[in-house]
């Protein structure tokens, strides 16, 4: 028997460290060669780490969420024969009694094929609750004046706490200063429901993996970029007529058209007039890189969180092929099969929540891009036209721009081009004059 040390291999892309996002095995598990042990995340891709040998997991070298350097010990296996621990120059671990006992234990269960549950832990609030202290917590009847000393009343007023909502721990429900404190840290969700029981569990969810990445990127974009957001109403009645007639005639091998391919075409035409909007900012060189090709990121909700797969060279795609590409890359993002080239390289991004898109949004730019086009929900509304109200289909576009480089005037003009093209769909398909 010997120890076999598995270190984090070079996962490519020139990364020096990676975040451990998943363990697929636990201590004591028997693993077979090539069986995935865990996964680390680099940029946007998850990389599984396979076991190079057969053995039993002796110890895990990192917790989920830890950042592990390439070459650092990821876990130790116990293997038949010599192992590699000595070869690697690390002294064998002192053999203590429990280790022997464990070593002697025959393999108990097969390695799980499913990932361990998410890193979620549940624990009680550290301070003992009123209920735990055996103190009777009362809720008052509606309209009843809360019992509280003058100083408690004053304190509640100054802290903006509605005393009527605070459960009192006094012998007859008097609200104390301590009650105010605990209320202000966690107002009971049960509110004024009589005899409601405050729920005191706190669920702790580690911010790891995709979520951490998303959080970092959002934070960075929001703190570095001064956003300007413009909301404009677009009449899509004509476009919707066109879209449904095209969908009615489409071939079976063609992807059903959503609004997106049309919007993408409007973006292509818009950035042709304002190329500074189709650009990336290189902070280190202090350069704006304007792209002739329009690579549109499609913000996509997946099980793992928000991912932005990219439809490349939209300027060269027909409406139908745009639709097919959107469908393909977003499916790949959802099932996790998107490769790196499909997840990077966008020059401008569309964010659409469809019928959940609200009336207006303040989309956050997919840095280092210059702009993001947010699509709000379509609705039918009465529009005054020729002396009468007529029903028109409208939606709002909420577009954010990097105000360091895009002035309000340019942003507004860009949106007006999109509006004009979408409201008169024929314009979408006019070839630009050659220059």
């Amino acid at each position: 028997m010997g120890d076999y040390v598995i270190k984090l291999p070079d996962v490519g892309e020139g990364v020096a460290e990676a975040e451990l996002v998943e363990w697929l095995v636990a201590e004591g598990d028997v693993v077979a060669e090539d069986q995935p042990l865990g996964a680390v995340m680099t940029d946007k891709a998850n990389v599984e780490i396979p076991s190079p040998v057969n053995g039993t997991v002796k110890s895990l070298g990192a917790d989920i969420g830890d950042t592990v350097a390439v070459g650092a010990v990821l876990l130790r296996l116990e293997v038949d024969g010599e192992g590699n621990a000595d070869d690697l120059g690390s002294a064998p671990e002192p053999v203590d009694a429990p280790a022997i006992a464990k070593a002697d234990t025959p393999p108990s269960k097969p390695a799980p094929t499913k990932p361990e549950p998410q890193p979620v832990s549940t624990q009680k609030e550290s301070t003992p609750s009123l209920v735990e202290q055996g103190v009777f917590t009362q809720f008052r009847k509606d309209g009843e004046r809360p019992l509280a000393s003058p100083s408690v009343r004053r304190s509640a007023l100054e802290r903006g706490i509605d005393l009527r909502l605070v459960p009192g721990s006094g012998p007859i429900g008097q609200v104390t200063h301590a009650d105010l404190d605990s209320y202000s840290t966690s107002p009971p969700a049960t509110g004024r429901r009589p005899q409601g029981v405050p729920k005191l569990d706190v669920r702790e969810v580690k911010v790891v993996g995709m979520r951490r990445k998303i959080a970092e990127r959002m934070q960075q974009a929001m703190s570095e970029i001064p956003h300007i957001t413009i909301v404009e109403e677009i009449d899509v009645t004509q476009l919707e007529t066109l879209r449904s007639s095209l969908n009615a005639k489409k071939r079976d091998d063609q992807t059903k058209l959503t609004l997106l391919p049309f919007l993408m075409r409007a973006i292509v035409n818009g950035v042709r007039a304002y190329p500074e909007i189709n650009a990336l900012y290189d902070k280190s060189e202090n350069l704006l890189k304007q792209f002739e090709g329009v690579h549109i990121g499609i913000a996509t909700q997946t099980d793992r969180g928000l991912i932005v797969p990219v439809v490349r060279h939209c300027e060269a795609l027909s409406i139908w092929s745009s639709a097919a590409e959107v469908s393909r890359v977003s499916a790949a993002a959802r099932d996790g099969s998107a490769d790196r080239s499909e997840l990077s390289g966008s020059t401008i991004t569309i964010s659409s929540l469809g019928k959940f898109g609200g009336l207006a949004t303040t989309p956050i730019i997919n840095a280092p891009e210059m702009a993001i086009v947010g699509v709000n929900k379509m609705r039918t509304q009465p529009v005054w036209e020729n002396g009468m109200f007529v029903p028109r289909k409208v939606l709002n576009l909420s577009c954010s721009f990097d105000h360091r480089f895009i002035d309000g005037w340019e942003a507004a003009q860009f949106i007006q081009i999109m509006k004009s093209q979408i409201e008169n769909p024929a314009e979408l398909f006019l070839e630009p004059d050659d220059e």
Binding site: R145, L147, A148, S149, P150, R153, L157, E158, G160, G170, P171, I172, G173, Q174
Partner: protein, 463 residues
């Protein structure tokens, strides 16, 4: 014309107004206070303080009168002689000291004092007519103009028909005094003058003396009136005064007309808010009858214009006005404040004194509470016995379900000093157990409060 611009202008320097101005000054507001009369308002000059001085003098005089007869405690003295001029002068000195004190406090808080009658020009501007005219512009204005004795149309105030103000300044004791109004002001002064030697008659339109109090509380006061020989006509209306005969014509509940000897008549039928000449018609101020309507923050219907004290209605009590004044100054300074007092104690400085804090048994029942109520007599209190103050009792009203103290009342000599303790219990949301389980010093009148709490719990010790 002088022109002043300030942050906070307080109109009226009574207890509400001067407290408001002091607090505003403390909070760093540039504050001006205006009053045509002396600082301290009714309370200090012609109300609470001088009446208590006169009541004290009357009590001392009565004590000596009793010693001149035969006192059970073994003290005898010769018949006392009253020099009312000196008594009034003594009282005036107390008033002077206190009003001077108020002036000092206002100055210490850097409040500017302007003498004269204030009149609104608009919601931000007031013209003051004093020795010179002053125009004051203020961001916030607090109306604290108080109240004045209410007049009977058939008996306008004059040489013989007096208000409490004139009674407190009498140079010579009238042989006979008819008090119209058997409320607390009429009885406090009526009892005092009776003790000093006037023949006092009380005429009350309602069916009993102290109609605002229940019979149990007013009983010992009625008893005192009897002891002092004060004639009481209840259910009786005053009709007219005959100056040449020094008689007051009254009509009793059976429509019989009776003439009562009356060298002087004290009309004490209540107080009216002082708003005349204030120019309220220049503002868009909502009224509540004759009072200025206010909300829970003493805001009037005009933003930036507040009203406090008697001008806003009942209870017309100095300590309510002071608390309102303090609150408004803090509100103007941007502090979050609201009128959230549980109780406002009320005291009759009659003989014996009556203290009412919180709900009486009847009020509690009317408000839908299931209650427990108990009384404990001072007869069973050692301290009361040792100071010849056996008359009276303490009463407590608690909510049956959880023993929350809803009210405490007492009648007895010196019980006014217990009001602070009653008020604290009610404001703190005390249960009757809290009072029962607090050690009360022996021998004190306060022990009666602990005993009444124990009695409510079914185990009083000293009865």
């Amino acid at each position: 014309m002088n022109e002043i611009t300030c942050q906070t202008l307080v109109i009226g320097a009574g207890p509400g107004g001067y407290v408001c101005a002091i607090r505003a000054g403390q909070l760093g507001q540039d504050t001006v206070i205006v009053d045509a009369g002396d600082l301290g308002g009714t309370c200090l000059n012609v109300g609470c303080i001088p009446s208590k001085a006169m009541i004290h003098a009357a009590d001392e005089f009565e004590k000596l009168t009793q010693f001149a007869d035969a006192s059970p405690i073994g003290i005898s003295a010769s018949k006392p002689v009253l020099n009312l001029k000196k008594t009034v002068a003594w009282k005036d000195r107390i008033v002077d000291q206190l009003t001077t004190g108020v002036e000092g406090l206002l100055k210490k808080a850097r409040v500017r004092i302007v003498k004269g009658h204030a009149k609104f020009l608009d919601g931000k501007t007031v013209e003051v007519e004093g020795e010179t005219k002053t125009l004051i512009r203020a961001q916030s204005i607090v109306i604290a103009t108080g109240s004045a004795p209410r007049e009977l149309p058939s008996l306008p105030f004059g040489k013989h028909i007096l208000s409490s103000t004139e009674v407190l300044a009498l140079k010579r004791l009238p042989k006979s005094l008819v008090v119209i109004g058997g409320g607390y002001i009429g009885l406090e002064l009526g009892i005092a003058l009776s003790k000093l030697g006037s023949k006092v008659t009380v005429v009350e339109a309602a069916g009993a003396l102290l109609p605002a109090y229940d019979k149990a509380l007013s009983g010992p006061v009625v008893k005192t009136c009897k002891r002092l020989g004060i004639e009481v006509h209840t259910g009786t209306m005053a009709k007219s005064f005959n100056a040449s005969e020094s008689t007051l014509l009254v009509e009793d509940s059976d429509s019989n007309e009776v003439e009562i000897e009356a060298e002087k008549v004290l009309v004490a039928i209540g107080r009216r808010p002082v708003t005349d000449g204030l120019g309220l018609d220049q503002l868009v101020i909502d009224m509540d009858g004759e009072f200025i309507k206010i909300d829970q923050q003493c805001q009037t219907s005009m933003s930036g214009v507040y009203a406090i004290g008697d001008v806003t209605g009942d209870p017309m009590l100095a300590h309510r006005a002071m608390a309102q004044g303090e609150m408004v100054a803090e509100l103007i300074a941007g502090e979050p404040r609201i009128w959230d007092k549980t109780v406002i104690p009320a005291i009759c400085f009659t003989d014996p004194e009556i203290v009412v804090v919180g709900l009486s048994p009847q009020e509690a029942i009317e408000q839908g509470h299931a209650i427990k109520t108990e009384t404990f007599p001072f007869l069973a209190n050692g301290r009361a016995k040792s100071m010849e103050a056996e008359e009276g009792f303490v009463r407590i009203v608690v909510r049956e379900a959880d023993h929350l103290v809803l009210g405490i009342q007492a009648v007895g000599r010196g019980v006014s000093e217990l009001s602070a303790f009653f008020g604290l219990a009610c404001e703190m949301g005390a249960r009757v157990e809290d009072i029962a389980q607090t050690v009360h010093a022996h021998p004190t009148l306060g022990e009666a409060v602990q005993e009444v709490a124990l009695k409510t719990l079914g185990h009083a010790l000293h009865i």
